[in-house]
Amino acid sequence: MDNFSPQSWNKNSKPHLFCPGCGHAIALKQLGYALDELGIQQNTALGIDIGCSLLAWDFFNVDTVQTHHGRTTPIMVGYKIAKPQRIALAYMGDGGAYAIGLQSIIHAAFRNNPVTVIVINNENYGMTGGQLSPTTETGVKTTTSPSGKDTKFGPGFKGPELLRQAANEKAFIARASVSNPVQLKNLLIKAIKNQTENNSFSFVEVLSICPINWKTDADQSFQRLKEMEKYYPIGEIK
C-alpha cells in the first residue's frame, strides 16, 4: 500500500513546486487524506488564490481553478450556486484571506454560503518575497517591516474570531496547525461535513510555517509555530 501520500494527490505533479519544508504542502497532505477518508475526490471543486496557493493548481486529482487574488471565495460561492451537489473548497493564504479578500469571506460567512474556506496562515506574503501581512505579529521583521511590525499597522489579525462575530450561527469556524496534522485533518473533515450535511459555511485557518521567508531551519520553524499557537488559539471557535 502506498503510504507516502494521499490517493487524491496527483502523482504527475510531484515533486511539487512548494519550497522545501513548506507548511502548505503539509496542510495539502492532510486535506488530501480528508478527501480520501470522505471519498469525495470525484465530487469536489477546488478554487485556489494567487500567492503560494497558486502552486496547487494541478496538485490534486480534483477539478481545480486558479482564481484572482482575494477572489477565490466569491468564485466558489458562485460555483456552489451552479452546482449545489458538489463540494466547493476555497484555498488561500493569509494575505488573500485577510487583506484583499476579507470583505468577501465576511459576507460569505454572514450569508452562510455553503462553501469551505481554508486559509494557510504563515504570517507573510510568501510568493512575493516575505512582506508583512495582517497576521504578522507585532515586532516581527519582514521586508516591509524591516525594524519589526509596528503596532500602528495592527497586531496579528485574528480572522476566525472576527468571522465568528459576523457569521451565521450554523457556520463552522476553526483554527488548526500544521504542528498537529491529525487534528488538522479532523477539523478539515468536520468543516467539509458542515457544508455537505448542514449546507452551511465553514472556515478553517491553518497555522503554518514558511522556512524560506522566515529564514528558519526545520527546528526553528516549528519553534516559531509554537509561539504563534500561544497567540492564535487552536480549535473550534464557538
Partner: protein, 352 residues
C-alpha cells in the same frame, strides 16, 4: 565634482525618483514585479523617520488592497502632500477606481506601473499590455498623462516628470515601466531635477470652504465640467507631450516603439543601418497625450512604418489614430507579453 555612476535596478531608480521629486507618502500592496518599489520606499522611510520633522518625513502604508492604496494616494494629495503608488497587472486594474476619481476631480495622482503579462494573472515578467489601462482604463475619456520608460535612468527622470506634471496640470500621471526594467540592474548616471513644482492642499483650508463633488444630477452640469477638463487638456497637451527621434534624418522606413522595446529597436537600427535601406525610430515618451507634431513631421517623409510592441496593437491603435489619412503603410509586429531582443527586431523587419 561630477556625479558618480551608480549600479541600480529600475525599481530602485523609481524609488529614488519619487524621493527626489519630493514625494512624502507611498501606498502599496505586494505585487510582482513592483514589490521592490514598496520595499525600497519602506527602507528609505525607516531611515528617514529617525531624523526628520513630522512635516517632511517619509511615510507609507501597506494597504489591504490596491483599491485602498489608490484612494489613500488621493487622500494625501487632498491634504497637500505628494503621494504615489506602484503596482502592476491586476493591481493596475483595481487602481482604475481611484484613477477615475482623480481624472474627474483633477487630482495629482502619481502611479508607477511595472507592466506584466496579461490578461488576468498572466505572468509576473514583462509586457506592454497596460497601455490601454493607463491611458483609457477608467470610465471616462482618458485625460491621464502616461509616460513609458525605456531605461533605468529614464524611469528615474519620468517619475520626477510625473510629479511635476501632475501637480502643475492636475491630471493623474502614470509612469509605465515593465518587469524587465524593474529588475534590470544597470550602470547609470542620474540626472537630478532642475525644478520641482510646489505642493498646496487641495481641500484648501480657507475660510471659504472647498466643496469637491464628482457626482452630478444633470447631464448638462456634468457636461460643463467635462468640457472644462477637456479644454485644459487640449491647452496643455503639447507642453506635456514628449518624444524622441533616433536616426530619422535619412530614414526611409520608420519604426515606432516605446519603453524597453524601443531600446532594443535602437540597437537593431544601429545594425540595420549598416546596410542600404535606412531606418529611423520614433519613440513616444508620453503615450497620452501622444507627441503628434513631431510624429507627423517624421511620418510624412516615410512610406512604411513598423509598429513594434509587446501587446496586441495597443500602441498601434494610438499611433494610427494620430496618422489617420497619411498615405503610409503600417506593419504591426506584436508579441503580447514577450520581449524583443535587438536581433529579433532586426529579423522580424528583414522577414517582411
Amino acid at each position: 565634482m561630477p556625479d558618480k555612476k551608480i549600479f541600480i535596478t529600475g525599481n530602485e531608480a523609481a524609488v529614488l525618483g519619487a524621493i527626489d521629486a519630493g514625494a512624502q507618502v507611498m501606498f502599496g500592496y505586494p505585487i510582482t514585479p513592483a514589490t521592490e518599489i514598496l520595499q525600497g520606499w519602506v527602507a528609505k522611510a525607516e531611515l528617514s523617520s529617525a531624523k526628520a520633522e513630522v512635516n517632511t518625513k517619509l511615510q507609507y502604508l501597506q494597504t489591504e488592497d490596491e483599491i485602498a492604496a489608490g484612494f489613500g494616494v488621493l487622500g494625501v494629495v487632498l491634504g497637500g502632500k505628494k503621494a504615489f503608488t506602484a503596482s502592476a497587472g491586476p493591481g493596475h486594474i483595481l487602481l482604475q477606481d481611484s484613477l477615475a476619481m482623480a481624472e474627474n476631480l483633477r487630482l495629482p495622482f502619481v502611479g508607477i506601473m511595472m507592466q506584466r503579462g496579461g490578461p488576468s494573472t498572466g505572468t509576473v515578467n514583462f509586457s506592454q499590455q497596460e497601455v490601454n489601462l493607463a491611458a483609457f482604463g477608467g470610465n471616462g475619456d482618458g485625460l491621464r498623462i502616461v509616460y513609458s520608460a525605456s531605461s533605468v535612468s529614464e524611469l528615474y527622470e519620468l517619475v520626477i516628470q510625473a510629479f511635476n506634471d501632475a501637480w502643475q496640470y492636475r491630471f493623474p500621471a502614470i509612469v509605465l515601466g515593465d518587469g524587465y526594467l524593474g529588475k534590470t540592474r544597470s550602470t547609470v548616471l542620474l540626472k537630478k531635477p532642475n525644478q520641482l513644482i510646489s505642493i498646496y492642499p487641495i481641500l484648501e483650508e480657507k475660510t471659504d470652504a472647498t466643496h469637491l463633488r464628482n457626482c452630478y444630477s444633470s447631464e448638462e452640469s456634468f457636461g460643463t465640467v467635462l468640457k472644462k477638463n477637456i479644454a485644459d487638456w487640449n491647452k496643455n497637451k503639447s507642453a506635456i507631450a514628449k518624444s524622441e527621434t533616433f536616426q530619422t534624418e535619412e530614414a526611409e522606413i520608420l519604426i515606432v516603439a516605446h519603453g524597453l522595446v524601443a531600446s532594443a529597436a535602437k540597437e537593431a537600427i544601429v545594425k540595420l543601418n549598416l546596410e542600404k535601406i535606412k531606418f529611423g525610430l520614433f519613440r513616444p515618451i508620453t503615450l497620452n497625450p501622444l507627441d503628434s507634431t513631431p510624429l507627423k513631421e517624421v511620418a510624412t517623409k516615410i512610406k512604411k512604418i513598423f509598429i513594434i510592441e509587446s501587446s496586441l496593437n495597443q500602441l498601434s491603435r494610438i499611433v494610427k489614430y494620430e496618422l489617420a489619412g497619411l498615405p503610409v503603410e503600417f506593419i504591426e509586429i506584436a508579441k503580447p507579453a514577450e520581449g524583443f531582443t535587438p536581433e529579433e527586431i532586426r529579423k522580424a523587419i528583414n522577414d517582411q
